[in-house]
């Protein structure tokens, strides 16, 4: 969805001379996605004009191995090639959609998926009775519209003609879903011309849509589908364009956040490798939400006293300003691109600290491509202080000590009170979960909550109109603290809302712990 809206942004801002009617999604959408990827990773200045964008993509490192005959022809990029999505899919899927009943059943499965995928847990799972009521009311329309269309159709193949009137949106959705998945796993797809794209997608359509209900599983897994469906992965690999026997194009240089780090990367090749690997090993995150009711509270039940159902009820009564910040924090921690950019800058800054410190052990670590826990912690604390976030505290299981911060004794009556006080006071070192000092790369970590605080600082600043303390004040209340677990201590193993995921990422890829063995 984010890529699609970025594509629309680029279309309307950078291509003012193009009318929407001229922009063909199937041809241009993957290319725009590759262009967006290049802009974000290469930190390029955007260009205007479709031809210029095409040239940037085609001449980039991403397209290096694509055979010339399959490459986009930038001189012709503005000529559109119309594609009837449904007819294309039907043709590629062979006889899978020859039965109207099968097709209508397929429509219904997709409608159920669309509802399930974008609707809050309450409607999905609170009571299945209510969920059935909600969903079935959409079936009223499916059956009505089909019969209406049937009444207007004439033989032969009256039934197929009737259902054909309803397939426009469906066809486009299927094509975009497949194209987006291919694009996410295969950046070179954006380099291909119309014919090459059609050929690749057509081969995949049949496998994904047989049986048709299998497409719902494909929709659920999204970009993970390549891993989840071994046949798809195999087919996908078979279809990847083979490099021609020509001289390899020169590699485009990797762009680093600062000149100082660029010099370090040039000096310490292993450090450069560590940096370049960051984007490849990040967790997938979670789909963005527009309201706290859309957060998957059912994924985290272990640490929250309040049930998911109750959380959903409470989300409905949340004040809009707090709802906005909860959403901003959640989405930031689950935005893979945002977290990639964050980690790259953090690691670069931490490495620069090590180089400046210049101790023998720091230089040795830089040579090995290691950015130490200490460097990261120091960098983090410095960032928070520079931002005016100065009230550091420490909490632990035995005592929720709050360091030098004095609290009104009447206010603090229990450990929960102390935790809430720490949350609203400032960044805190969390000693509540013991760190495995003998090794072990998967632990809660002392400063992971501080990292999360730093990660969401920009998003919170925006959502609170420049006053992020409003969010922390709210989180430190009995009402606000209910959201703590799902934002900062979740059980989602694919998200930085879970501190262990942050630790695991850093300790597997960046810090000295990656050379330790797990206990």
């Amino acid at each position: 969805m984010k890529t699609f809206f970025s594509y629309l942004l680029i279309t309307f801002i950078l291509l003012p001379h193009m009318t929407l009617a001229k922009v063909d999604e199937f041809t241009l959408r993957p290319t725009m996605s590759t262009y967006e990827y290049l802009c974000q990773t290469q930190h390029m200045t955007p260009v205007s004009g479709l031809g210029n964008i095409c040239n940037v993509v085609v001449k980039s490192e991403v397209c290096r191995n694509v055979p010339k005959k399959d490459l986009l022809k930038c001189n012709d990029i503005e000529k559109t090639q119309q594609l009837d999505a449904w007819e294309f899919i039907k043709g590629c899927a062979g006889g899978v959609f020859n039965s109207v009943k099968d097709l209508l059943d397929f429509f219904w499965e997709i409608m159920k998926w669309a509802w399930d995928n974008t609707t809050s847990s309450e409607a999905r799972g609170k009571t299945s009775q209510q969920a059935r009521e909600y969903l079935s009311s959409a079936k009223l329309y499916l059956n009505t519209e089909y019969q209406k269309a049937y009444a207007k159709s004439s033989p032969p193949m009256r039934e197929m003609k009737a259902v054909g009137t309803m397939t426009g949106a469906m066809g486009k959705m299927i094509l975009n879903a497949i194209t987006d998945t291919v694009q996410k796993n295969y950046r070179e797809f954006g380099c291909l011309n119309f014919e090459a794209k059609s050929e690749h997608i057509c081969k995949l359509v049949g496998d994904i849509l047989i049986p048709p209900a299998g497409f719902v599983a494909f929709l659920k897994y999204g970009p993970q589908a390549v891993k989840q469906f071994p046949n798809l992965k195999k087919l996908y690999a078979k279809d990847k364009p083979k490099a021609q026997a020509t001289a390899p194009r020169p590699q485009a240089p990797v762009t680093y956040p600062t000149k100082a780090f660029a010099e370090l990367a040039a000096k310490y090749p292993e450090l450069a490798k560590t940096y370049e690997k960051i984007g490849k090993n990040l967790p997938m995150g979670a789909a963005p939400v527009t309201h706290p009711r859309d957060i998957r509270y059912d994924l985290t039940t272990g640490f929250r006293a309040v049930s998911p159902e109750e959380m959903l009820k409470r989300a409905e009564t949340l004040e809009p300003e707090h709802a906005k910040s909860v959403v901003a924090a959640y989405n930031a921690l689950n935005d893979k691109q945002m977290m990639k950019s964050y980690m790259e800058k953090l690691i670069a800054e931490s490495a620069e600290w090590m180089a400046k410190k210049g101790r023998p052990e720091d230089i040795e670590n830089l040579k090995k491509g290691i950015v130490t826990e200490q460097a990261i912690a120091v960098t983090l604390v410095k960032r928070l202080k520079d931002r005016g976030d100065l009230n550091f505290t420490t909490i632990s299981r035995k005592k929720f000590s709050t360091g030098k911060i004095e609290f009104d004794p009447d206010e603090i009556k229990s450990p929960n009170d102390k935790f809430r006080a720490a949350v609203r006071t400032g960044p805190f070192f969390d000693n509540a979960f013991p760190v495995n000092t003998k090794g072990g790369r998967q632990n809660h970590g002392r400063y992971t909550h501080m990292l999360q605080r730093d990660m969401i600082a920009g998003a919170l600043n925006k959502s609170t109109g420049g006053n992020p303390q409003k969010f922390w004040d709210f989180m430190g209340t009995k009402k606000g603290i209910n959201y703590w677990v799902d934002l900062f201590d979740s059980e989602n193993r694919n998200s930085f809302t879970r501190p262990e995921v942050i630790s695991e990422f850093l300790n597997h890829n960046v810090t000295e712990r990656r050379f330790m063995r797990d206990n």
């Binding site: 509802w115 009775q129 909600y134 009311s137 209406k148 469906m170």
Partner: protein, 160 residues
């Protein structure tokens, strides 16, 4: 005499219901019965029955939230079949003969681009919900007789 009068009234009402139904072509799909008006195939009526294990406890259900979820489900899934701009102009919960009902009225644009008026009635009986939908082109907005005709025989079926 009174007996004959009552018999006549019952027969007369049944005739009206049957007369109304005869203006429509009926078909069945899954758990639905769909009627298409013989004079204009954009005028429709649909009944869908959903069975339940037990009654919905309206003392525990927030009706406003229930309606919002219902509305969301349509907005999120109807686009798949080419229905756009589905919006309700108003809705109302009411109790009729001890049975909870929900009525929703509004408009949408169908896959052919036609702007359509709709009226839904959900009847929440003990072991099932019966959902009724009437649609007609917005151009026939003032032709309420189609709506009245459909609901007269449809609700008669429901109340059996």
């Amino acid at each position: 005499m009174v007996f004959k009068l009552i018999t006549f009234i019952v027969f007369f009402n049944s005739s009206l219901v049957l007369a109304a139904a005869s203006d429509w072509n009926k078909s069945e799909m899954d758990e639905s019965k769909i009627w298409i008006h013989k004079k204009n195939s954009d005028i429709t009526g649909t009944i869908l029955t959903i069975k339940r294990d037990g009654p919905l406890n309206w003392n525990d259900i927030n009706k406003s939230s229930f309606y919002q979820r219902l509305e969301e489900s349509k907005k999120r899934s109807l686009g798949i079949i080419g229905i756009h701009e589905w919006k309700a102009s108003h809705y109302k919960f009411e109790t009729v003969n001890g049975v909870e009902r929900l009525m929703i009225e509004g408009t949408y644009v169908d896959s052919s681009g036609l702007e359509v008026l709709f009226k839904e009635i959900h009847v929440f009986q003990a072991q099932k919900t019966i959902q009724l939908l009437h649609t007609r082109p917005k151009a026939l907005q003032t032709e309420k007789k189609y709506e009245e005709d459909f609901f007269s025989f449809a609700l008669a079926e429901v109340d059996k």
